[in-house]
Amino acid sequence: MYDEVGPSEMIVHLGPQHPMLPGPFRLNAKLRGETVVDSEVEMGWIHKGIEKILENKTYLQGITIVDRICYLAALTNEEAYVGCVEKLAGIEVPERAQYIRVIMEELSRIQSHLLGMGEYASFVGFVSMFMYTIKEREDLMSVIDSVTGARITHSFLRFGGVKDDLPEGFKEDVKYVFGNLRKAIDNYEELFSTDSIYKARTVGIGTLTAEVAKDIGVSGPPLRATGVAFDIRKDEPYLVYKDLDFKVCTQTAGDVFARVQVRLDEMRESMYIVEQCLDQIPSGPIFPEGTAYGRRSPVMRIPAGEVFHRVEDPRGEMGFYMVSDGSDKPYRVKIRGPVYPTLQALPPLLKGVPVADIVAIAGSMDTCTSEVDR
């Protein structure tokens, strides 16, 4: 890319500190006038070596570390990690704990989508939209806060259960927040589908076809926007997802507009899931009875073995590969983040687009650089 810079071309380094993405990230773009000729992504600005740290922490300590892989969806990270350990150690999670996990993860999915969508709207110049979504998100955050005691990094799941039961009045709180949120989401959809400037900026921009998306390994909303109904919650159900009624939201266009639309639909679907869970949730213990697992887990030694466990993150497929050697610390943990392939796909997607669409396309992927760097 640097070898041949033509007479009317210049290289612009977007980042590492740039409002384009929440997190340091650098895009070196070669421009001819306003058009991107070539581009390249540089990563690693916040590489903190989580995989190495996890090898040196006990299993229980690891929960707090995996929270910080991707700060927008901490609960699903925990779910993937805890799920790995539970599979290896053969721990059964009681049903009530499973329901609580599903509720919290879906709430966390909604808040992540709200933030991603609002941020995306601000990238096309719609700053007010960002304010609206953040405002709705704050209500949701306080609901999550009332259960987990934290806003971003929860450390809520434990092996075999969850840290705490749902507080009193949780159902009413959720109902109240969802009432407002439903209206808000309908408003967003109306805004997005009627605003002609917004449509001119998004329809037909950054189009991925289903074949290309599969080929480059994208997952989550960018893939579902191309019409592929790939969702770990359906394809490889974990927790109680197989008992719940929900559909995988897809669009066919595969462009920026479709991705945002998928997120809007998914938020509605998540709300539906949470409401079902609140109706169906059985009473009972939140930790397996008759075992040592409880609020304070003992020092665990997990039988040697290897396991790959994956869950559906707000951004796509989140997988953990864990190798255990029988000691109280994992031998090796590999984190497979959903954004990794998505961010890789940026340079080919950005070829030939104007500068203004760089942020539109990069923003619509809803990337989280922290998770790519780890």
């Binding site: 306003e34 110049g125 001119a200 104007p354 203004a356």
Partner: protein
């Protein structure tokens, strides 16, 4: 021409009045910024500044003091002469517009005395010409700061301005034809019974959009576009140099709103019975005029916070493919009216 009181020819009086005018326009810009911050907060379900003074009205004073006392950084590879000189060009072009724009009028005994620094026969052309100079100021700022974001912003600015000056000019021509004069005071006076917005609504529409693009308000702020180009053309400027660019933008906003009122919304014209009284004649026309200016400003600010941003190629498309034919249509309509002798 109307008679002007002798005392106004005294250079000292003129100087003091001029200074008052400058102060007033700076105050106006500050009020506009405050207005915008409060209004945008309202639209975005926030409070906006409310700690410094009642409802945060002194917020801009604090900002100005801070900007004045910031370190003045000239980047190492910047073109130093241009870097220092460019904000002055920008500010100058905006202030030169002040020379010709009337800020209202005083009606005494049925005679109208516009409050304006000069009385030119071609003032509307002059305003057009001078306001186009600001693009050179912006380009000098961007070029001298040796920053690629700035340069991209400046190129976008050029592309946009070239596109929008044409429909803007055609709309002004159609107004001038209807009024039969190139003098902005005469144009305002010509709307005495009927505002031009009623005679040529299409012209108003095109003029309003083109003016917003000219001022770089949000659907058209590609030269600044925060999320792509950090702060666009003004990225490298610090302290008061940044403040100058910022103020120039808002003074431009005020003057643009005044132009809209003067050309299409009837200026200061009131029914004769309201201005027959001496006191009312001094106060009312100017108040009426400034009130309309405030409403136009409100509209422009509200549009800014309610829409996303165009891409630069869409902006240029809009100007050449939509607004230019529409403005020509409007010109034809005006000529038809003139031929029919309406």
């Amino acid at each position: 021409m109307m008679e002007i009181p002798e005392i106004l020819f005294n250079p000292w009086i003129r100087g003091i009045l001029g200074l008052c005018l400058m102060g007033a326009i700076f105050m106006g810009a500050m009020i506009a910024v405050w207005f915008e911050r409060k209004l945008s907060a309202d639209i975005q379900q926030r409070h906006g500044p409310n700690r410094v003074g009642p409802h945060g009205i002194f917020q801009l004073v604090a900002d100005a003091i801070k900007l004045f006392t910031k370190e003045d950084i000239i980047p190492a590879n910047a073109d130093k002469f241009l870097f220092v000189f460019a904000p002055i060009v920008l500010m100058g072009s905006v202030f030169l517009m002040l020379v010709a724009i009337p800020f209202g009028a005083v009606i005494i005994n049925g005679n109208t005395y516009p409050i304006a620094a000069t009385d030119m026969d071609i003032s509307i052309l002059y305003i057009e010409a001078v306001s186009a100079v600001s693009v050179i100021g912006i380009f000098m700022i961007a070029y001298s700061s040796n920053n690629k974001y700035s340069l991209l912003g400046a190129f976008r600015n050029f592309a946009r301005m070239i596109g929008y000056e044409v429909p803007l000019g055609i709309c002004i021509v159609s107004v001038a034809i209807m009024a039969g004069s190139l003098n902005i005071v005469d144009i305002a006076q010509a709307q005495s019974p009927l505002w031009f917005i009623i005679m040529q609504p299409l012209g108003f529409f095109v003029f309003f959009i083109a003016l917003m693009a000219d001022m770089g308000r949000l659907p058209f702020d590609q030269n600044e576009s925060e999320e792509e180009l950090i702060a666009g053309w003004i990225t490298e400027y610090t302290g008061m140099r940044f403040g100058l660019g910022f103020f120039a933008e808002y003074i431009h906003l005020i003057l643009g709103s005044m132009l809209v009122v003067l050309l299409f919304l009837g200026g200061w014209n009131l029914p004769e019975m309201l201005t027959s009284n001496m006191l009312l004649g001094i106060i009312l026309p100017t108040a009426f005029f400034l009130g309309k200016v405030a409403i136009v400003m409100l509209a422009i600010i509200m549009i800014r916070w309610a829409v996303p941003r165009f891409r630069i190629d869409q902006v240029v498309d809009l100007s050449w493919k939509r607004l230019l034919p529409l403005s020509l249509l409007n010109l034809g309509w005006v000529i038809l009216l003139a031929l029919l002798g309406v």
